[in-house]
Symmetry: C2
Subunit: 344 residues, 2 copies
C-alpha cells in the first residue's frame, strides 16, 4: 500500500510550520512565546529584559547564487537577514552564531571574505559573533544564522496586536531588491558564454545594493524608542509586502487597506520595471527579499510617525472579515494574495 | 594573477574557526564567552543563571544518509547533538529552534516523522521547541539546530580548566556508533541491487541504536549536581575521543595519559570489529559520532565519581609539554592524533 504523500507546497510555509510545531508541549516557565512570530521570546528569571531568539538557513542555489553574489556581501546580508527578525520584535540584536556547510570548491580565502562581510555587519549593528560550527557539504554552501536579541518587557511588539484604524507603516521602499535580482540573473544569462565577462551595472547601483547589501532598519527601531512610539504590531518583510501583511492580519485577527499611490517604490525600480516590461507594483507586493519592516501604530501617532522619518504610512487596519486589499486611485479594491512556499 | 588558495583541510576545523573568528570585537557586556567552547556564554543583566547558546548544521550526504536513516530517528538525534553542547558546559537545555532546508522529494508526512522524533527528544530532555524556519533546498535535506541552555554561574564548566592529576572521565562507551554506521553502509551496498531489501540487523540492535538514536548523557549532568561534583573541564565527544581530548588539553594547557585497558568498549563493538577485520580501539579513539561527554575531576573526587556511576575514569591529566597519549598494558605510550576536517 502506498503511503499518503502531501506536497509541502499545498500547505504553504506558514501552514507547514503550524502543522509541524502544533503538538509540542512547553516544559520551561522561561518560554514565553514559541513558534509563530519573527522570534521566540524567553524570560530568564531575574532578568530585566526579555531575550529574543531567531534562526534562519540560507542555501546556495535557493537563497543565493555564488556566480554573481560576492561572498563579502553574502556574509553581510546573512547577518542582516538574521537581525531583522529581532528588530521585528522591536528588539536589538546582541549575539549571533554562524554555522557553515562548506563545499570543497570553497577556499579559506573565500571564507575570509564571507567573514569580512559578517564582521562589517556586526560592527554596524552592534552584534557579537558568539559561536559557530563548520561542517563539510557535498552540495553547495549552506549558512545557518542564529541571533539573540533583547527588548524591555514594556517595549516588545508581536504580530498580533494590530487594531482597526491603526496606521500601516513600512520602512524604506519596496521591490528594488527583486529588480536587482532580475538584473543579476539577466547579466548572468547574457554573459554565460563570454570568456571575459564584463557585466554592465552602471546606473543600476541602487538596485544592486538593495539586493546584494541591504541595510537593516535598526535606525527606525531606535527612533521609535526615542520618540516613545510603541507599534501595536510588527513583522519583517521578507516574503513580500502582500504575504507578510496577510500574516500580520491573520495573527491580529483583522483586515487591511493599503493604497497603491502610497506604496514607496524607488525611481530606479520603475525604470528597471519598464526595461523588463514588468509591473513595479507586483515587484513591490510580491517580489520579496526587501528586508524591511511592516508595523502598525495607533492613529493618534500619525504626526509623530511622519515627523520621525524613516517610515511611510501606506494604509490602515480594518475590522476582521474585511480582508486585506490594495486600493487603486480610482477607488477599486484588489484582494492581496500570498506567495507560495519559497523560503526565508 | 591567480589568487592564493588555501584548502580548508590544511587548517582543520578548529584552526579554521580560530582564523575566521579571530578579528571580531565584542560590543555587548552580556557576551561572556564567544567562540572556542561547546557553547557561547551570555550573562543577561539581573539574571540568576547564565545563558548558553549553541548551533549545529546537519547535512544530507555528510552527516546522515536518508537511504537508511529513519526520519524519526534523525529528528531525535538532531536534538541530542544540539543539546550535548549545552550539557558539555554542565548546563541544561531549555529552548531550541530548528531550521530546515527541504528538498522537493520530501513530503509533509516525512516531515511529520522527523518532528515526531524531535518531539520525543524534547520530552525526554525537557526542552521547548521555540521556533523554526523552513526554506526550499535544491540539493538535500539541511537541518540547522540551535539550543539555548542555562547554568548557575558557580556550576559552569569550560574546556579550559583541567589541571595536572585531574582524572579523565567519559560517559557510556565509545566506538559503537561508528560500528553501527559501518554496518548500515555495508547493508546499503549489499542491498543496492535488491528489489525488496531485507537488511539483516538481528543481533546488532545495540550498535544501530548508538548510531541512529543516541541518548544524551543528561543523567550524568544531573548526578554531578546531586553529588556536588564540579568537573574542572568538559567537552562533547563528537569528533572522536582522540580529537576532543587533544582539544581539551590545548584549551587547558596540559597533557593527558589515557589507558588502553580502561577504554569502555562494548562487547558488540568488539564483535563487529572482528567481523569487519577492524580495530575496535581505533573506532573508540577516532570513530566519532559518540555523542558522549569527556570531563575531568579533581583526584579527590575519585571515590564519589565511581559511586555516582554513569562515567568511567580512563586516565589523568599531565603537565603541559607532555602531550596526550594512549598507554598500552605493556607501558608503551602512543601519541594521540586528531582527525581531519569532517564536520560536527
Amino acid at each position: 500500500m502506498e503511503k499518503k504523500r502531501t506536497e509541502i507546497a499545498s500547505l504553504g510555509e506558514f501552514g507547514l510550520i503550524d502543522r509541524l510545531t502544533g503538538g509540542f508541549t512547553v516544559h520551561n516557565p522561561t518560554t514565553v512565546k514559541g513558534p509563530g512570530d519573527d522570534a521566540a521570546v524567553i524570560r530568564i528569571e531575574g532578568a530585566s529584559e526579555l531575550t529574543l531568539l531567531t534562526s534562519d538557513l540560507l542555501l546556495e542555489g535557493v537563497d543565493f547564487d555564488l556566480s554573481y553574489f560576492p561572498l563579502k556581501h553574502l556574509g553581510y546580508k546573512t547577518v542582516v537577514v538574521g537581525c531583522n527578525d529581532i528588530l521585528a520584535m522591536n528588539g536589538l540584536p546582541r549575539q549571533l552564531t554562524l554555522s557553515l556547510g562548506i563545499s570543497a570548491k570553497i577556499s579559506v580565502e573565500q571564507l575570509d571574505e564571507l567573514y569580512e562581510g559578517v564582521r562589517t555587519a556586526c560592527e554596524e549593528l552592534g552584534v557579537d559573533l558568539a559561536g559557530g560550527d563548520t561542517t563539510a557539504s557535498v552540495t553547495g554552501l549552506a549558512i545557518g544564522i542564529t541571533v539573540l536579541g533583547s527588548v524591555a518587557p514594556d517595549r516588545i511588539v508581536y504580530r498580533s496586536g494590530a487594531k482597526p484604524n491603526d496606521l500601516i507603516c513600512i520602512t524604506n521602499d519596496l521591490g528594488a531588491a527583486y529588480m536587482g535580482l532580475h538584473l543579476l540573473e539577466r547579466e548572468k544569462r547574457v554573459l554565460h558564454d563570454t570568456a571575459n565577462p564584463q557585466p554592465k551595472f552602471e546606473g543600476y547601483e541602487y538596485l544592486l545594493q538593495r539586493q546584494l547589501r541591504p541595510r537593516a532598519p535598526i535606525d527606525v527601531i531606535r527612533s521609535l524608542a526615542e520618540e516613545k512610539i510603541l507599534p501595536t504590531s510588527m513583522i519583517d518583510i521578507s516574503d513580500g509586502l502582500a504575504s507578510d501583511l496577510l500574516q500580520l492580519c491573520k495573527s491580529s485577527g483583522c483586515g487591511a487597506r493599503i493604497y497603491l499611490d502610497r506604496l514607496p517604490i524607488a525611481k530606479e525600480t520603475y525604470a528597471m520595471a519598464e526595461e523588463l516590461h514588468a509591473d513595479p507594483v507586483v515587484a513591490a507586493l510580491n517580489g520579496g527579499d526587501d528586508n524591511e519592516l511592516l508595523f502598525t501604530v495607533p492613529l493618534e501617532d500619525q504626526e509623530r510617525i511622519m515627523r520621525m522619518g524613516g517610515a511611510e504610512v501606506i494604509g490602515h487596519i480594518t475590522e476582521a472579515g474585511t480582508g486585506a486589499a490594495l486600493v487603486t486611485p480610482d477607488g477599486s479594491t484588489i484582494p492581496l494574495k500570498a506567495q507560495g512556499f519559497h523560503g526565508n
